[in-house]
């Protein structure tokens, strides 16, 4: 996936300008920025839900607008931020629906679809929720079911908008490890938006920092996720603390300014 001179504007405000960005198989990108810096807008644009204001988005060397929607759905999956369930589908139904791009002329789901859907739910520790009405699930449970749906879409590229936001600590770590494993072992490309710097730092191989005024910075996370750059990106002083092998980012105390 590649963006060329991509520009995003909302309400006359420039969010991102001239973004040249390439996501390769096996990479796990984390998009970091303040509220309203354009993270979700970028993800929606890359997913093809929104036309770029300038420049273009390419997938496999072809512009998104040249793709057939169904073919595109077999290449990239998108997890939006919020969910709003109007109907009482079972959790398994919502995961099975993600098999739509593979069901060309079949009316009912095949046994394979069920197998893949159940496996995805188990991978997210949501196997026991399969028969539940989605409207009765807690926020975190619903989120895990939604991620399971994205996985069962079986695409090389995953675009995830705050996948870990509603999860408890154990599941946050679990989901992040799962994503890291998908990149490493299956060669998938993952782009995720997250506000948890430490969690993202632990899985991301690369990071894209959006400054909110059109500027951006992309690169391997070791180079880009540094205290000075993150401080500038998030508009708040941040310190990096070494804890064993790990680097932790914590907000600096005001007095240290």
């Amino acid at each position: 996936m590649q963006t060329l001179k991509l520009g995003l504007r909302i309400g006359g405000r420039e969010l991102v300008a001239g973004l040249d960005w390439t996501v390769e198989a096996g990479q796990c990108w984390c998009v970091i920025g303040r509220n309203g810096a354009g993270k979700s807008t970028l993800l929606r644009t890359v997913a093809g839900l929104r036309a770029p204001d300038s420049g273009s988005v390419l997938l496999g060397g072809r512009a998104l607008s040249d793709w057939q929607l169904l073919a595109l759905a077999r290449e990239r999956a998108y997890l939006p931020q919020g969910r709003n369930d109007a109907f009482g589908y079972r959790a398994i139904d919502t995961v099975l629906a993600a098999r739509h791009p593979y069901q060309d002329d079949r009316y009912w789901d095949a046994e394979t679809d069920f197998r893949i859907a159940h496996a995805a739910m188990r991978a997210l520790d949501a196997g026991h929720l399969a028969e539940r009405d989605v409207r009765t699930l807690s926020g975190g449970e619903r989120q895990r079911v939604a991620i399971a749906a994205v996985l069962s879409q079986e695409t090389p590229l995953l675009l995830l908008d705050e996948p870990a936001s509603a999860l408890d600590l154990a599941h946050q770590v679990g989901v992040m490890e799962l994503l890291a494993r998908l990149c490493r072992a299956e060669g998938k490309a993952v782009v995720l938006v997250s506000h948890d710097l430490n969690l993202s730092h632990s899985v991301a191989s690369h990071a894209l920092l959006l400054m909110g005024d059109g500027e951006w910075l992309a690169g391997p996370s070791a180079e880009v996720m540094t205290a000075p750059l993150l401080s500038r990106c998030l508009g708040y002083p941040i310190e990096a603390v070494q804890h064993g092998k790990r680097t932790l980012f914590i907000p600096a105390e005001e007095s240290n300014d």
Partner: protein, 345 residues
């Protein structure tokens, strides 16, 4: 046996759907048979079949054959009207992503009522009433389509269709005002017919092909897009990332539900609650999967209206009630009960 059941969920799903639909088709036939047998003179099943034989041979001479012709025509009209309304209801609910929407919420039936009542008020030919109703419904649909074009194209955003819904509600209330105006200036001798039309009445319907054609075409469309409707009901606008052409689907749903509503309303007036209660009850019983829900709801809707209409013409016989009264009397408590149960979940 048990392990097999766990291993083959897709097979189970299919078998369940086939069973439910078979039972519903059988129920539909039984309800029509029942409607033909019940009335001022009741006919037994052998009599019914004998009469049917006479009809088929083309020399209906006995009383039973005449009764059958009358009752069968009316039962079939009831069936197609109920099936049409229920199908329109499911489609409208999917389009607006709101299980509480009904085919009348966007004012399509209001347009039909304005058309029908003005035909009754200014002319009095019965055939004109149906055409005027259909024309009114289509005029409102067209107006809605123009006004909410941006929303149906999907550029407005979140897929909850607030623009379409608001436009529809306003148009519906505008039609309501026109209806009240016409009722208040109508001469007394026409008033009764106008009120009956508004409540929904099957007593004056003739056997016609148009509603069946509309229903069948819409059903074919619905079944073809059933899976896509599921994805859209779940993901709204983000369904596009699963390969659904959301705008095309929404436009199709809008056009077909408007056409269905227009067809039903011009056959039998604005019969309330069928388009709301039947999809609701089916969803409650068998889940919201549109692959099963669409055919199941439309069969159940037809059966329901056949039974309701049989009740309407027999409960205080020889006087006949408008069937809309019966559906409302059944519909209101059922709906409140369901709403309460959903709320408690």
């Amino acid at each position: 046996m048990h392990s097999e059941a766990i291993m083959l969920p897709a097979f189970q799903e299919r078998r369940r759907a086939v069973t439910i639909l078979t039972v519903l088709i059988a129920a539909a036939f039984c309800s029509i048979l029942f409607a033909c047998g019940i009335g001022s003179v009741s006919l037994s099943i052998p009599e019914l079949f004998a009469a049917l034989g006479e009809q088929v041979r083309g020399n209906p001479s006995s009383l039973a054959a005449t009764l059958l012709e009358l009752r069968l025509g009316r039962a079939l009209a009831a069936f197609v009207t109920g099936a049409t309304l229920a199908l329109a209801g499911v489609m409208m609910q999917a389009l607006l992503r709101n299980p509480l929407a009904d085919p009348y919420v966007l004012g399509v039936s209001g347009g039909a009522a304005v058309g029908a009542l003005s035909a009754m008020l200014f002319f009095s030919a019965a055939w004109l009433v149906d055409i005027a109703a259909f024309g009114g419904a289509m005029a409102v649909s067209f107006l809605l389509f123009l006004l909410a074009w941006r929303d149906l194209r999907g550029s407005a955003g979140d897929g909850n269709a607030p623009m379409l819904l608001l436009t529809g509600v306003i148009i519906a209330s505008g039609c309501g005002a026109l209806i009240t105006l016409m009722l208040s200036i109508a001469p007394d001798n026409r008033l009764r017919g106008m009120v009956f039309w508004l409540i929904g009445d099957l007593s004056a319907t003739q056997v016609r092909w148009l509603p069946w054609t509309v229903w069948l075409i819409a059903l074919v469309f619905a079944v073809r897009v059933a899976r896509a409707i599921n994805v859209m009901a779940l993901h709204a606008e983000a369904a596009a990332t699963l390969g659904i052409r959301v705008n095309r689907l929404r436009q199709g749903l809008f056009l077909f539900s408007a056409l269905l509503t227009a067809s039903a309303v011009s056959t039998a007036g604005s019969i309330g609650f069928v388009g709301l209660i039947v999809p609701h009850a089916c969803r409650f019983a068998w889940g919201p999967d549109h692959r099963l829900l669409l055919p199941a709801a439309t069969l159940a809707g037809g059966t329901f209206l056949v039974l309701a209409d049989t009740l309407a013409r027999t409960v205080i016989a020889p006087q006949q009630l408008p069937v809309g009264v019966i559906t409302a009397l059944i519909g209101v408590p059922v709906f409140l009960l369901q709403l309460h149960q959903i709320h408690r979940k």
